[in-house]
């Protein structure tokens, strides 16, 4: 793979990995420790290359750790980096147990090789809980092998040896660097990783320290890192125009006219026979459209201005946001399609309630809009496909492109590049399918780049939804009944991707008489996960309506939330390591399960944010208010307070400050990265609430990029972040700080103005006084 400007990818590491596999096999099944982390170790060993291919001064201790004679320690980062900081934080976990000197660590993106590395994707805030324990053991195993090597060399017991900062040190003061020991260590039989002694937290040397992003020096000097930066010799450039209506098909186009334009090499009408995967965003594959291949991307994109296509728009052209809103209203007056949870006697309790509160809430479709537009570079030669893709989901992408090109997955190589934002969008692989096929048709390497409006208008979206709530209070103002009729979207019998409502949605279990019910409308617009999927919408509606309930009871809203969990306060569930407990929220088939939800942990973050924000103690001017919300998602507990000011003359909402308190367990692996994620998530949520909306009109997206306002510097409030440390295995931070900020903001607006925000994005014209 010779490339002129090649972002760092797994290919850099291939030499070391082959060496590792061979050395391990030669050492008699020595690869055990990597194997225990992988699905099929035997297969990995049998595919090994020869020692001769290895760099003579580098020794791979295991699949994650390679040590050079000059003491450089190369650590593999197994999952895609999308801005969540995982390329820094997971290697930190390995380096800590290895007792490496972080200054000598060089991090390299691992190749896509699930047999060696296990699951490799960025989603669900799973990377930390799925890998924390396993990667500690990978680091500890390598350290143990270095100690064994030193003990053999010096002929002294291992108990006389310790490690520090990349050295093995004997009691008598002798020391050897890891670089000096690496070659011997690679021949040591790896220890049983289940019985390794792991550090106690007070001995952490890397974990818990703030460490800047490993790629940041390259980012700030403009070196190529991202998918869009890939350059392959002989590469051509492509754009791909799909029907504005989702699922529409190309009938004909002015191909000859486009071909006559400057720089245009080819025009392909793509009419796939296989299913497009619509409207499931995660399953989206190749769709019908027109591919234009040119000598430069500018020429290809410019040609779109002259492109005339006759489309068969198909059935989705009859769908619109306005139509769905009217239909939802109609459905809300009818019996729900499905009751997903009934506790007690909600109807009876409402009928007998001293006071009933009713409210209708809704939220729109939202686009992810990562700043790096969808793109991929593909080279198809002799039946083999090589791709460089900014993807969150390289394994799924590999399966898809193999299918699209009609080749086996063994004939596909995927290089994961750094991603210019993900937010869930790159869990779909549609852009990879397009690049793969265009490269195959062109017979030359091709870089496909979507333009910005294509990116906005051919996403899959956070699904919109409509909620119709009722709450009943008894004569003492206690919440005794709660019902929600959620009208969402479906594709056939299945809820549209990421539009599910869980039967465990809070306050389920905490209100005696409760009903959660759903009705659905058939949707042809693609939907899928966006940062904190489901939660980013449901937090807004449930936590806003509970704020309404609190005000109706006359209680302080923060105390009201704490009191809702009161039953559990007496007997909190015992700490359970992640992965060992019964199913908790945020898991799923094949994914780690956290310990069961704990009302005590919820109460604790609420109490802490009461202190950090000065809740109830601050004198606020007229037009300024504070709101609070709590949400549990992705195994993280987050309580957040927003202070907002509403300008009376035009209703403009100014967010003054956000206070975030999170509980993600016992360790904050990289505090600077953790703060960055929480600050970003809080501002991301505010950005959504203030202006983001995708409207569907006749089956197509109504907005262009200038009509899709993303937060800018002048709107970005201070965000204070604090963590509550608890004795649970650490969990992820890419997502859980987002959901509560939206209702906290809307509740702050209510506190400031007495006006309740029940629909997103916030309509400031309703806030004028």
């Amino acid at each position: 793979m010779a490339t002129a400007t090649k972002p760092e990818t797994g290919a850099d590491a291939a030499v070391s990995r082959r060496a590792f596999l061979t050395v391990s096999a030669a050492a008699g099944g020595g690869m055990l420790l990597a194997l225990s982390l992988a699905e099929d170790a035997e297969a990995a060993i049998s595919s090994s290359g020869s020692v001769a291919e290895a760099h003579p001064n580098e020794t791979a201790i295991n699949a994650y750790v390679t040590i050079s004679a000059d003491n450089t320690i190369t650590i593999m980062s197994k999952v895609p980096e999308i801005g969540q900081g995982i390329k820094t934080s997971l290697p930190m976990v390995i380096a800590d147990e290895l007792d490496a000197d972080w200054n000598t660590v060089h991090v390299v993106q691992a190749p896509l090789d699930p047999k060696l590395y296990g699951a490799q994707f960025a989603g669900g805030s799973f990377s930390t809980p799925m890998n924390w324990d396993a990667l500690r053991r990978a680091g500890a195993a390598a350290r143990a092998m270095l100690i064994t090597a030193a003990a053999l060399k010096w002929r002294i017991p291992e108990s006389d040896l310790s490690t520090s900062q990349g050295k093995v040190i004997a009691k008598d003061g002798r020391s050897l660097t890891y670089g000096q020991l690496a070659a011997d260590a690679a021949r040591v039989v790896p220890p049983d990783i289940k019985n390794l002694a792991l550090k106690i937290p007070s001995n952490f040397s890397v974990v818990g320290k703030s460490i800047g992003g490993v790629d940041s020096p390259k980012v700030v000097t403009g070196q190529p890192l991202f998918g869009i930066d890939v350059s392959v010799p002989g590469m051509r450039y492509a754009v791909f125009q799909k029907c504005p209506v989702f699922g529409g098909k190309v009938v004909s186009a002015n191909v000859d006219e486009i071909k006559a334009r400057p720089g245009i090499l080819n025009v392909f009408l793509i009419q796939p026979e296989s299913p497009t995967g619509l409207p499931d965003g995660m399953a989206m594959g190749l769709q019908s459209g027109v591919a234009i291949v040119a000598s430069s991307w500018w020429q290809a994109n410019k040609a779109l201005e002259s492109l005339k296509v006759v489309w068969d728009e198909g059935p989705v052209a009859s769908q619109s946001s306005a139509g769905f809103a009217a239909k939802a209203q109609e459905l809300s007056t009818q019996a729900p399609h499905k009751v997903i949870r009934t506790d007690g006697d909600p109807k009876g309790a409402l009928a007998g309630a001293a006071k009933v509160i009713e409210a209708a809430y809704s939220y729109p479709f939202v686009a992810h809009s990562p700043l790096e537009p969808m793109n991929s570079t593909a080279s198809f030669t002799n039946g083999k496909l090589e791709m460089w893709s900014p993807t969150q989901n390289p394994g799924a992408g590999k399966t898809l492109v193999a299918k699209v090109c009609g080749i086996s997955e063994d004939a596909v190589t995927i290089h994961m590049t750094r991603c210019g934002g993900g937010f869930g969008r790159r869990l779909g692989s549609d852009f990879m399918a397009e690049a793969a096929l265009i490269a195959k048709l062109q017979g030359e390497p091709v870089k496909l780049v979507w333009n910005r409006n294509q990116d906005l208008q051919h996403e899959f979206y956070r699904p919109g939804g409509f909620h119709y709530f009722k709450a009943g209070l008894d004569a003492n103002g206690q919440l005794i009944a709660f019902t929600d009729h959620y009208v969402g979207y479906a594709n056939g019998p299945k809820a549209s991707n990421s539009s599910d409502l869980a039967a465990t949605e809070f306050p389920a279990k905490y209100v005696k008489n409760l009903e959660l019910a759903t009705s659905t409308m058939q949707l042809g617009v693609p939907t899928g996960p966006m940062r904190a999927p489901g939660s980013n919408a449901h937090a807004f509606v449930f936590q806003s309506f509970l704020d309404e309930v609190a005000h109706a009871t006359g209680k302080d809203p923060l105390q009201h939330l704490i009191d809702l969990f009161a039953e559990e306060r007496a007997a909190p569930p015992p700490p359970t390591p992640a992965g060992k407990g019964p199913p908790g929220r945020g898991g799923g088939p094949g994914f780690p399960m956290g310990p069961p939800f704990s009302g005590k942990r919820a109460q604790d973050v609420l109490e802490m944010v009461r202190d950090t924000s000065g809740w109830g103690k601050r004198q606020l001017p007229k037009g300024t208010g504070m709101g609070v919300a709590f949400y549990y998602s992705h195994l993280g507990y987050f309580a957040e307070v927003v202070q907002a000011t509403v300008l009376p003359e035009d209703g403009t909402v100014k967010v003054d400050k956000v206070w975030v308190v999170g509980d993600v367990g016992s360790v904050i692996i990289n505090p600077t990265g953790a703060l960055n994620q929480c600050q970003g998530a809080a501002l991301d949520g505010i950005s959504q609430a203030l202006g983001q909306q995708i409207t569907i009109n006749r089956g197509r997206v109504a907005q262009t990029f200038p009509e899709y306002p993303l937060m800018r510097m002048y709107q970005a409030a201070q965000v204070q972040v604090d963590f509550k440390i608890t004795p649970f295995s650490p969990t992820g931070l890419g997502e859980p700080a987002l959901p509560p900020v939206i209702p906290a903001l809307c509740n702050a607006i209510f506190a400031a103005t007495g006006k309740r925000i029940r629909h997103l994005p916030i309509d400031t014209t309703l806030l004028k006084t």
């Binding site: 400007t5 801005g83 969540q84 900081g85 703030s210 800047g212 992003g213 790629d215 940041s216 020096p217 980012v219 700030v220 000097t221 403009g222 070196q223 190529p224 890192l225 991202f226 869009i228 930066d229 350059s231 400057p262 720089g263 430069s296 500018w298 020429q299 994109n301 410019k302 990562p370 700043l371 790096e372 537009p373 750094r418 991603c419 210019g420 934002g421 993900g422 937010f423 780049v449 910005r452 003054d656 400050k657 600077t672 990265g673 960055n676 994620q677 600050q679 970003g680 501002l683 950005s687 990029f705 200038p706 993303l710 937060m711 800018r712 510097m713 002048y714 970005a716 201070q718 965000v719």
Partner: protein
């Protein structure tokens, strides 16, 4: 058409259509991939470069309009004292999340500090609001600009 433009102190020749934006000449003809394509509409700032010291959006600046002006990109900004200070501050404050917008942010921040050695929060808002950061690292961009200016990095905006 052939154009010779001065990029980071060196004359470079590109052969592109006259309407080709400077961004694509830099990225695809000169292999300077640091300036990023975000929107192609001058709205996100990811493509920001300096032309004679002024921050401009290279995605809407035709290469034919550059003439003999001096173009500075993220690859070259570290050669200036201010640019280096801004890059260092970005690392010290650990601004980066995904990093895609940061080249443009650094170019806008450097232009700001070249004209205004002690910017206020309002100055920062005014100079930086043309640069989107989808990860919303704004709090840290603000701190890094202050760090580079030798100002206290604590957020002093009124609450």
């Amino acid at each position: 058409m052939s154009y010779t433009i001065n990029v980071n102190g060196t004359p470079r020749t590109v052969d592109v259509d006259a309407d080709t934006p400077l961004l694509w000449a830099l990225r695809d003809s000169l292999d300077l991939k640091g300036s990023k394509f975000g929107c192609g509409m001058g709205l996100c700032g990811a493509c920001t470069v300096h032309i004679n010291g002024t921050a401009v959006r290279s995605c809407i600046t035709p290469v034919s309009a550059v003439g003999t002006s001096n173009v500075t990109t993220i690859e070259g900004i570290g050669a200036s004292e201010t640019g280096k200070r801004v890059q260092d501050a970005w690392l010290k404050v650990d601004v980066v999340q995904c990093g895609y917008c940061q080249a443009g942010q650094i170019m806008s921040a450097t232009a700001l500090l070249n004209n205004n050695h002690k910017p206020t929060d309002k100055d920062i808002d005014d100079a930086m609001s043309g640069n989107l950061c989808r990860c919303a690292t704004y709090v840290r961009i603000r701190a890094a600009i202050k760090q580079a200016a030798g100002l206290p990095t604590t957020d002093t905006r009124e609450v």
